[in-house]
Amino acid sequence: MNKLWRLLGRRLLQFLPILVFATFVVFGLLQLVPGDPALSLAGDYASTQRIAEIRHEYGFDQPLVVQYGIWLWHAMHGNLGLSLFSSEPVTQLIEDRLPNTIMVAVYALVVASAIGIPLGVLAATRSGSKIDSFVTSTASMGVALPSFWLAMILALQFSLYRHWFPTTGAADFFTDPAGAISHATLPAIALAVGVVATLARQVRSDLLEVLNQQYMRTLRAKGLSNGAILWKHGLRNVSATLLTLTGLQVNRLFSGAVVIEAVFAIPGVGSLVSYSAINKDFPVVQGVVLVLVLIVISVNLFVDIITALLDPRVTAST
């Protein structure tokens, strides 16, 4: 338990710089986007003086580091500023749209785990069989499939032609669960395919390695059934790497969401961030990035704790 706390403390210390670094990099990158937000804010016929005023008002005339410092200071107090264009609070924008993104990401993760993990187990226990080569080869293809391409095919086939699912938009999960699920199904599938392939491949190779360990023979010599050996000892031994991998998939799902939300016109943070970046709506982009990094970090932290509890080697090696 002591070790666990130490691990947690160390992780938090590692995450803080990551958080600052990631948001600062995005802050810097936004400067490279062509166009001047002050110009668009000022309107078409604004005088040079007016533009300068606006620059000053919004702090655009300050050095980059100072601008960033001010933003960070406010962010630490829960104030992410206002959108430059709609003047809505950024926190409000994110609050409205984040549930739609989470819906798709969680849906995709659940579907992907429910399919990918059993497939990997199946392939590992029947290694060398036809099932194994089928899983392995399909997974290699699945890993390479671009999700936006898949998204377009799915949208075309199942919503435009067949009308099985709505083409665009989203619904609130708590007021209209059926609607939310039906809206999120195609985007979730598009995102899940790559994750299924990654999970299946990794589970297969990890489990195969574990099943060939010497201690598997000991377990058989104890009189354990194959089921107990596979599901209790086999899976417990791969659980740490498996969870870590699943944590990484969360990062991947959120970054994938940016593209997928564009294809399905889902009002999530993905589409919000791409739209705002084009318009140089700095506060919105910064806010979304901060929230996404926070989500990813929390997921990783959670994964770290669970793996440390499941596998004594994790706390020993870190």
């Binding site: 360990q213 010497q214 201690y215 023979r217 000991t218 377990l219 058989r220 010599a221 104890k222 009189g223 354990l224 059934s225 107990a228 000892h233 417990r236 031994n237 499941l310 596998d311 004594p312 080697r313 020993a316």
Partner: protein, 355 residues
């Protein structure tokens, strides 16, 4: 509790012509384990290769039998055959393995599961990798108990702690909560022994249990195995390539060479007067002998590969006493108090361990 001894029936042995001598051996009714004509082959790209050839031996109740032989001669295969732990695919096993009146070779996988860990325990060579790294040793021992007895988790844990105490681990209750990685090799081997003995099996197979350990720890583990065997009446099948260990610990022994039993008899009389030139070669390498060399370096040449086995005596190419008659396949024949696979056994006068 789960023992169904006596209810199973012994499969009649198939005695093929030319193997008569292997079955000449009187099957004592008190034999706990009676291995007859055990052959094991593996399939590779070029076809089937035989790795064990008509291996036969018995272990009596409560007895300690040693198996000695060079690396690759089939000692571990013999042990795994008895446990039914050979690979399922690409492996063929024939012969009878009569344990406590039942032929294990004819028993299915679920029947074998009730034997493994309960009636026959096994300790492996590699203590570092033989325990599951993500469960505490207490859980792993308790799991063995729960596999074979309908006891509560708590009771199983208590039995595990007792088992750890019986292998003389100081602070057994604390040890039970440890993960294998925090234990030394010697400690892990003690844990393995505790786990193998926790259900009080009738037979314990120890496959080179001390080879991977420090010399000082080796002696302690050997002592422990023998003492526990004696106290619980568990028979011990002790596998090693170190004849010295057998000399110290076993009543009877068999020497294996290239997948065959070449000599089988009481340790004392074999040490005094080996009948097979290979056994005599093994004796040469015992410490305190004229040429105190390590291992079996005193026998020149090397073991023929399974694909290029000589038709005649398998030891022939390395034997100083080879004669014309040795070109014939050698049978295991009864000579005095032994069984020997050598046509010249009766007329050779081989040196024993120096007295």
């Amino acid at each position: 509790m789960l023992s169904r001894a006596g209810t199973g029936k012994t499969t009649p042995m198939s005695v093929a012509a030319g193997k008569v001598s292997d079955s000449e051996k009187q099957v004592s009714t008190s034999a706990l384990l009676d291995v007859r004509d055990l052959s094991v082959s593996f399939r590779d790209d070029a076809g089937w290769v035989q790795m064990l050839n008509n291996v036969a031996f018995t272990v009596k109740r409560g007895e300690t039998l040693g198996i000695v032989g060079e690396s690759g001669c089939g000692k571990s295969l013999t042990a795994l055959s008895v446990m039914g732990l050979l690979p399922k695919r690409g492996c063929r096993r024939t012969g009878a393995i009569v344990f406590d009146g039942r032929d294990l070779a004819a028993l299915g996988e679920s029947g074998m599961r009730q034997i493994r860990g309960r009636q026959i325990g096994m300790v492996f060579q590699e203590p570092m990798s033989a325990l599951d790294p993500v469960f505490t040793v207490g859980d792993q021992i308790a799991e063995t108990v729960r596999t074979h007895f309908p006891v509560s988790q708590r009771e199983a844990k208590e039995r595990a702690v007792e088992a750890l105490a019986s292998v003389r681990i100081a602070g057994p209750a604390n040890c039970a909560t440890q993960y294998p990685m925090s234990l030394s090799g010697g400690m892990r081997q003690r844990v393995m022994i505790a786990m193998a003995l926790v259900c009080e099996p009738k037979l314990l197979i120890a496959d080179e249990p001390t080879t991977a350990l420090d010399v000082t720890i080796q002696a302690q583990i050997m002592e422990l195995l023998l003492e526990l065997g004696q106290r619980t009446g568990t028979a011990l099948l002790f596998i090693t390539h170190n004849l010295g260990l057998i000399a110290e610990s076993c009543e009877r022994m068999i020497a294996m060479y290239a997948g065959e039993v070449v000599e089988d008899g009481p340790v004392e009389s074999i040490l005094q007067r080996p009948l097979h030139p290979y056994t005599a070669g093994l004796l040469e390498s015992l410490p305190g002998r004229r040429a105190p060399k390590s291992r079996l370096s005193s026998i020149p040449g090397r073991v023929p590969s399974a694909r290029e086995m000589p038709v005649g005596c398998r030891f022939g190419p390395r034997c100083n006493y080879a004669a014309a008659a040795c070109q014939e396949p050698q049978r295991l024949r009864a000579v005095d108090d032994r069984h020997v696979r050598c046509v010249r056994a009766s007329d050779l006068a081989l040196a024993g361990a120096g007295v």
